[in-house]
């Protein structure tokens, strides 16, 4: 009896407690849930007035959503995934940034060069780290030396190795990087190992706070508090508090060097994809990058605006045309199956890319005809390329011409020798259920023109491993690449590159890429470079070592109370300009 009673008590207590908590939750997030109400009010007001952008307003808290838990490597030099970088982008700034044409422009540092080999950088004075120390060129030198240190465990060495003497420093043959010369606290001279047109875009342009990290051994830096719990930067917001794996609180940097900061606080919060729509609708999150699949659900929300801007990634269907030997860095063997250019072109005509993109990316992607995202300055205009409009009849004619005809009457074409011909198409599999249907759709396009196709879904980790090692099981494959500010495609396309997955081998095309980087040929004339790149795109557009499918758009959902946010292809504008209307 007594036992039962106490049990009852416990039960009652829990009930009371949860009721209490629920009630107090209402109050407690008082600020936030009240905010939501207020938001709605302002919304209707602004709608009534017919304006969407108010005047910048000081104060307020903005909730910024990210869709995956950060790894917690909050340091420009050490981060590995995009979500960590989204946080870094709020509290730190590069010394040099990019404009909407992806051309470098001065931020904290401006530069001068005569020969594209020696650069002199001048820093603005009075820029302060969040701990009050002044930013000087020594902090940049410190960052470069950290990255070039042999104990450094991040992936950025490629952005430092072109500096003269970086290799020797890394191998322990020198105590300093010989190509870096500190002139004064605000002036630094960097010499590269050779003159290149893209030396500047390739260079690492974030500083690290030497005042706090200077004593930490490089091997321990990525685990240190200055990366994980109390990182500092020079940006408009400073990190106040981090709850590992779920949220980050940032507050206004009063001493920000570049104008006033509007917001008091930014709270970065991880939001699972399944909660995105509800959180946006309730105003629990103000700003968030969306997956294309959430777009149609978010669009009808009245309190949320969707903004798209051009992205820098493209999807393709690649052909394995050869085998690569990583030791000699050459393509050693040719695969005969897809060597016929007419076959590849026929397959391109067979794809209804627009329909496919609309079905699987909900209109948040554009069909491309060459492997350079269209917002790059060196992208070829579609008028200069073959756009391969969907034309199954033409595909059939091309296949007939190339000798791929149905000889045994089974409804599918055989290869010119009369042997059975099956297009084996591979796609990576993750938890995403749409991948299989979108891959299936591609094989159906092939089958419609009489090419028998077979789809294989491969677990994503294994997938890229197999592609990289030229596993014979991979014949045609789905893939995607992102490109950075530097539009040079050499690393993904030249015959001596491991990541040239199709094993495309065309010396003429490689020569164009080399020339476009060769300062002897192009000097510093961007128009001349663009010409060479366009020439190159014409070749790969004709050769089709891969079928270019689409470039993605970046999609951002913004609550109507947020203002001052702008995007271009280089990313978001300075968070200092963001504001919220209450």
């Amino acid at each position: 009896m007594k036992k039962n009673k106490s049990l009852l008590w416990l039960f009652a207590l829990i009930l009371v407690l949860s009721a209490f908590l629920a009630a107090c939750g209402g109050d407690d997030s008082g600020s936030s849930s009240d905010d939501a109400d207020k938001k709605e009010e302002t919304e209707t007001e602004t709608e009534a007035e017919g304006t969407t952008e108010g005047e910048p307003q000081a104060g307020g808290t903005l909730v910024y959503g990210i869709d995956a838990p950060p790894e917690g490597l909050f340091s420009s030099a050490f981060y590995g995934i995009a979500t960590d970088f989204e946080v870094i982008d709020l509290y730190d700034e590069p010394l040099i940034t990019y404009n909407e044409n992806l051309e470098p422009i001065p931020n904290v540092a401006s530069w001068e060069t005569e020969d594209n080999k020696v650069f002199t950088f001048t820093f603005k004075e009075g820029v302060k780290w969040h701990n009050g120390e002044e930013l000087t060129v020594n902090d940049w030198l410190f960052a470069l030396e950290t990255i070039a240190n042999k104990d450094y465990d991040g992936p950025r060495y490629t952005n430092v190795q072109t500096i003269e003497g970086a290799e020797a420093f890394r191998n322990g043959e020198a105590d300093t990087i010989s190509g870096i010369e500190v002139v004064s606290d605000y002036e630094i001279k960097i010499t590269f190992d050779q003159a290149r047109v893209n030396n500047l875009t390739n260079l690492w342009v974030y500083a690290l706070p030497e005042s706090v990290m200077g004593d930490v051994p490089v091997a321990e830096m990525s685990g240190s508090e200055w990366v994980r719990s109390t990182p500092i930067g020079i940006g408009p917001f400073k990190i106040e508090n981090i709850v590992a794996g779920e949220s980050v609180e940032l507050s206004k940097n009063e001493d920000y060097w570049n104008g006033d900061v509007n917001l008091d606080k930014i709270v970065v919060r991880v939001i699972d994809n399944s909660s995105v729509v509800g959180a946006l609708q309730n105003g629990d999150v103000d700003m968030l990058s969306l997956q294309p699949v959430s777009g149609p659900e978010v669009e009808p929300l009245e309190n949320v605006e969707i903004i798209t801007y051009p992205g820098l990634s493209y999807y393709y269907v690649g052909f394995k045309l050869g085998k690569f030997d990583n030791d000699s860095q050459t393509i050693v063997e040719e695969n005969p199956k897809y060597q016929d250019k007419q076959l590849r072109q026929a397959m391109m005509y067979a794809l209804n890319r627009q329909e496919w993109v609309d079905a699987f990316f909900f209109g948040y992607a554009n069909v491309v005809n060459a492997p350079v995202p269209s917002s790059h300055w060196n992208a070829a205009d579609n008028s200069e390329l073959n756009t391969y409009e969907y034309d199954p009849e033409k595909a059939k004619t091309l296949l007939d011409e190339a000798g791929y005809v149905d000889q045994n009457g089974d409804g599918f074409r055989e290869d010119p020798n009369g042997d059975e011909f099956i297009v084996k198409f591979s796609h990576y599999a993750t938890g995403n259920p749409t991948f299989e249907s979108r891959a299936q759709a591609i094989t159906q396009y092939f089958e419609e023109v009489g090419l028998q196709s077979e789809l294989e879904m491969v677990e994503v980790n294994l997938y890229y491993d197999m592609i990289e090692k030229d596993d014979p099981a991979i014949e045609t494959f789905f893939g995607g690449w992102g490109t950075g500010a530097d539009p040079d495609p050499s690393g993904l396309w030249k015959a001596d590159q491991l990541w040239n997955y199709p094993r495309y081998n065309n010396p003429e095309a490689d020569k164009l890429l080399d020339d476009a980087l060769d300062i002897e040929v192009v000097g510093t004339d961007q128009a001349k470079r663009a010409e060479l790149y366009i020439e190159w795109q014409k070749i790969v557009n004709e050769d089709l070592p891969m079928l270019y499918i689409a470039e993605l758009e970046e999609i951002v959902a913004l609550n109507n109370r947020v203002g001052g946010v702008e995007y271009d292809v280089s990313g978001q504008n300075n968070p200092a300009e963001w504001f919220v209307t209450e």
Binding site: S18, S33, P69, V267, N461
Partner: protein, 321 residues
């Protein structure tokens, strides 16, 4: 009993060694490694990836890798996470409090629900109420947790605004204050409710069946003949006997407390061991993955041992020698 305990403890050693081999081989058999996700021309280049593989020892023969790992492991060095670039031990310790809180609260919810339902069903078997409880229990068991979690979030968080939809605490609240702990509790309740309510079936049905069985036993008849009130017979005499088999579950619960709930934690973005485990699998973070699996295997073994010892405590008829 001491002898028995020592015997069992010694027995776990070869078991753990075997498990470690299996865990290691399975981890290494998974395609790809922690670096295959990093293929990205923006950030890195093939040379870096090759260099890191060398640095991390992925190019050594497997037995050597196993030996390197296990020697560190037995000395308490779990290694450095390849994803988080810091000590695995620190990462696990960072997540344990969250998971423990979630585990304990959900277990309490399970117990309360299961006990009340089980006792009701056991007392009135084959009535409508009993069948309804069984039906509900099996439906809950059958609903996948991700569906339950999403529905719960939609209904309780977005619709009713009772609970937050994710996270473990409101970051704006000052750490250590009373509101801070209240906020933690507030955040944990919804995932705990989902977890707790979904796991009642086995407890309820075990308890029910045992109560029914015991109610037909001689000692019950005797008690009734003596005129003991029915309530007392059920709540004291029968219940005490019926709890014994439930002790078996306690052993499993022990590991589950730490093991967390992979799916539920992910959907609620509740940073605990479950989410860490899922992350370490998808990103091939071997050191974390293996440390967690070893930890969970150890806890399961320990849980079983504790359950066996508890048998002896709750039921003096069982002698462990």
């Amino acid at each position: 009993m001491l002898k028995y305990t020592i015997k069992r403890l010694l027995g776990t050693i070869p078991m753990l060694i075997l498990i470690s081999i299996v865990v290691f081989s399975l981890a290494k058999l998974m395609p790809g490694d922690s670096l295959s996700g990093e293929i990205d021309p923006l950030n890195t280049n093939p040379e870096y990836i090759e260099e890191m593989r060398e640095k991390l020892g992925y190019n050594e023969p497997l037995p050597v890798q196993y030996f390197n790992w296990i020697t560190g492991f037995v000395q308490g060095d779990f290694g450095k996470s390849t994803k988080y670039k810091t000590d695995v031990f620190d990462i696990i310790m960072e997540k344990v409090p969250n998971t423990l809180l979630l585990g304990v609260i959900s277990l309490i919810i399970t117990y309360i629900l299961a006990f009340s339902m089980g006792m009701y069903s056991g007392r009135r078997p084959y009535t409508i109420g009993d069948n309804a409880i069984a039906g509900i229990n099996y439906i809950m068991l059958a609903i996948p947790s991700f569906v339950a979690a999403v529905v719960a979030i939609y209904f309780f968080s977005f619709h009713l605004n009772w609970f937050p939809f994710g996270g473990s605490v409101d970051i704006l609240i000052e750490k250590g204050s009373f509101e801070y702990y209240l906020s933690k509790l507030h955040h944990v309740l919804l995932p705990a409710l989902v977890l707790g309510a979904m796991g009642t079936a086995s407890y309820t049905q075990f308890l029910r069946n045992d109560i029914i069985e015991n109610s037909r036993k001689d000692f019950v008849r005797t008690a009734r003949a003596k005129g003991t009130p029915i309530r007392k017979i059920y709540n004291v005499h029968i219940l005490r006997n019926s709890i014994i088999p439930l002790v078996t579950f306690l052993g499993f619960d022990f590991a589950a407390l730490i093991g967390g709930a992979i799916i539920t934690e992910s959907i609620f973005t509740y940073p605990g061991i479950g989410m860490l485990f899922l992350d370490s699998v998808t990103s091939r973070d071997y050191p974390t993955l293996m440390a967690l699996t070893m930890l969970l295997s150890f806890l399961t073994l320990a849980g079983n041992l504790i359950a066996d010892l508890l048998y002896g405590v709750v039921d003096p008829r069982i002698r462990l020698d």
